[in-house]
């Protein structure tokens, strides 16, 4: 009797075995418990697209699409080449505006509002417990608010516009636990680069990463977004941080009804494919050297490298907290004679805030220039394109060869603090 009772309890425990965040999100959608490897047809809450919406619409039409399957799904933000750099880009934007009108898409943000990922968050689309896909690899960013979000291709976005659905595989999960207090000149960017150097660019391939630990609890939402934004750079399908009061307060501040979402948390007894624990107090300011995010070195090893251009901003480090940190370093200083400084706020809201706090005055008096919110120099299509032999230190997420428009130039990735100190010295430096 006692034995059969134990057996029944075991069976029950098996059926209710602890789940990771990803397993829980997908189980909720499937209406039953699912395990990694299961393929499901999912109706995402939102599908994000940007300047690529015109090309996606062309594929949508080839698919035989006429009207969008669910008009509440699409969110379109023009950000990649804004303002248009040439007639072709302008015509592309024109096509997007036309399709927005024709289809009656409500969630459209024209050039100038900001980088799609920042706008998506500021406009209240990134709701804890929701599932979002986007035809941009940095769609992973919203995981900092407890969203399951991941990048897809253009054709797949067209497929969702036409059918409302996409196939997704339940990923295995990986836990990265970050504990301790970081040094005063070390930011979440340095910590992320440390992780990239340790596990390499494919270290989390196809996995769902859950970032946790006392360090993650302590830092601001903006700093957490660096982890989820760059989760894709280490191969992850998505990045997740358990939403807490900081997230709920932010959502309340931007006017999101707290009854409009339901946060999802992993179970304490969930099983992970891998767990990595890192004590952040030992991490020094780091830089990712050309041409890979995992080619990580200490700033102190790179102090002889002359820098032609510094970019502070992008969807990785273009929030108000980043500009405050950079302004603190640059206040009352001048940038080096042979170095250019480009400031790229992630959104019009960040832009206004930085302006009102007087940060732009600090950057301009130091010799920098302020760019409009958008993707700008990050994809090498316009604004801040590099020349051969030039070196850029950027707070962005990618330093692939040719990324900023020139395949004979070098890109180093760093924190806003290191980028600002570098601009002053004209060589790679930190404070």
């Amino acid at each position: 009797m006692e034995k059969s009772l134990q057996f029944l309890l075991l069976l029950k425990r098996g059926a209710l075995m602890g789940q990771t965040f990803a397993e829980k999100i997908f189980s909720k959608r499937a209406g039953k418990n699912v395990v990694p490897g299961t393929i499901l047809n999912i109706k995402p809450d939102h599908v994000l697209t940007h300047d690529n919406s015109a090309a996606i619409f062309s594929t949508f039409s080839k698919m035989g699409g006429k009207k969008f399957a669910d008009i509440s799904q699409p969110v379109i933000v023009l950000d990649h080449i804004v303002p248009a750099a040439n007639e072709k880009a302008a015509t592309n934007h024109q096509t997007v505006r036309k399709l927005v009108d024709e289809q009656g898409i409500k969630n459209f943000f024209d050039g100038g509002r900001g980088i799609c990922h920042q706008v998506f968050v500021e406009e209240g689309f990134a709701l804890p417990g929701s599932l979002v896909v986007g035809s941009d690899s940095h769609t992973v960013t919203y995981g900092a608010l407890g969203v399951f979000s991941t990048g897809i291709g253009r054709s797949e976005a067209a497929g969702i516009w036409a059918t409302g659905e996409i196939w997704l595989k339940v990923p295995e999960s990986m836990k990265i636990v970050l504990n301790g207090k970081a040094k005063s000149n070390v930011t979440s960017k340095d910590v992320l680069l440390f992780i990239a150097g340790k596990i390499k660019a494919d270290g989390a391939l196809y996995k769902s990463i859950e970032f946790s630990g006392s360090y993650v609890d302590d830092i601001a939402l903006a700093d957490r977004m660096v982890f989820t934004n760059m989760a894709v750079e280490i191969g992850a399908k998505n990045g997740y941080i358990a939403p807490d009061k900081k997230v709920f307060d932010y959502l309340e501040k931007i006017g999101v009804d707290k009854n409009s979402y339901s946060a999802v948390y992993p179970d304490p007894d969930a099983e992970y494919a891998e767990t990595i624990e890192i004590d952040v107090s030992t991490i020094e300011p780091l830089v990712a050297c050309p041409h890979s995010v995992d080619n990580v070195k200490n700033v102190s090893e790179l102090e002889d490298i002359k820098v032609s251009q510094v970019v502070i901003g992008t969807c990785t480090n273009g929030r108000i907290e980043d500009f405050r940190a950079a302004a603190k370093v640059l206040k009352g200083k001048k940038i080096a004679k042979d170095t250019r400084l480009l400031i790229l706020p992630a959104s019009s809201e960040v832009y206004l805030q930085a302006m009102e706090e007087g940060l732009f005055r600090i950057f301009i008096e130091a010799g920098g220039m302020i760019l409009n919110p958008g993707c700008g120099p990050c994809l090498g299509a316009h604004e801040g394109v590099m020349a051969p032999e030039e070196v850029t230190v950027s707070t962005a997420n990618r330093n692939f060869k040719g990324r900023m428009g020139c395949n004979q130039a070098d890109i180093y990735l760093a924190s806003p603090i290191t980028a600002a100190a570098t601009a002053i010295k004209g060589k790679i430096a930190t404070i």
Binding site: G65, E156, G235, V385, G402
Partner: protein, 165 residues
């Protein structure tokens, strides 16, 4: 046709989408023929001069990492390439290959068994690759949910037939 025969191009680990199809072209180069002409531009400028329909790329880990840009998969399709074989793929890139109807196989250890210009034969029905030394390696079939997209030649045709039915 179930057999893909072609000469191979061999590349290393972490070949990213920026070197396959540079970001600066994403909104200026839009026609299939043009897109094809920029394939592998920042990794191997000679690639497009040497490639022929049916040819196969063999690469290391994390092939196609980086941007979600679909052109980085479609450029090979537009060149008429036979397949890509890699140790592993970035997940968006793998999906883009499926959506382009471009066979993309995950097989470990081939990079060191072949050299540029070798001719290999892939039998997609049997799930085998015939190497120049006569040996064969096998690979598992795609999950049925994914294979049905490949069977239609890519996602556009797949959705089209779904909407029509």
């Amino acid at each position: 046709m179930t057999v893909i025969k072609g000469k191979v191009f061999v590349y290393g680990d972490d070949i990213n989408t920026d070197v396959i199809f540079p970001g600066k072209y994403t909104y200026t180069v839009t026609e299939p023929k043009e897109i094809a002409m920029h394939a592998m531009e920042d990794e191997d400028p000679d690639f497009v001069k040497q490639v022929a329909p049916g040819d196969i790329i063999i690469a290391g880990k994390n092939f196609g990492c980086g941007s979600s840009r679909e052109q980085a998969a479609f450029c090979f399709k537009y060149l008429g390439m036979g397949a890509i074989i890699a140790e592993s793929y970035s997940r968006i890139y793998f999906r883009n290959c499926i959506n382009a109807g471009l066979p993309s196989l995950e097989i470990k250890g081939l990079v060191n068994k072949v050299k540029k210009g070798d001719v290999i034969e892939i039998d997609t029905e049997k799930g085998t690759v015939l190497l120049p030394d006569g040996s064969k390696v096998s690979f598992p079939p795609l999950p049925p949910e994914v294979d049905q997209i490949m069977q239609k030649g890519g996602l556009t045709n797949y959705i089209k037939s779904k909407l029509e039915s």
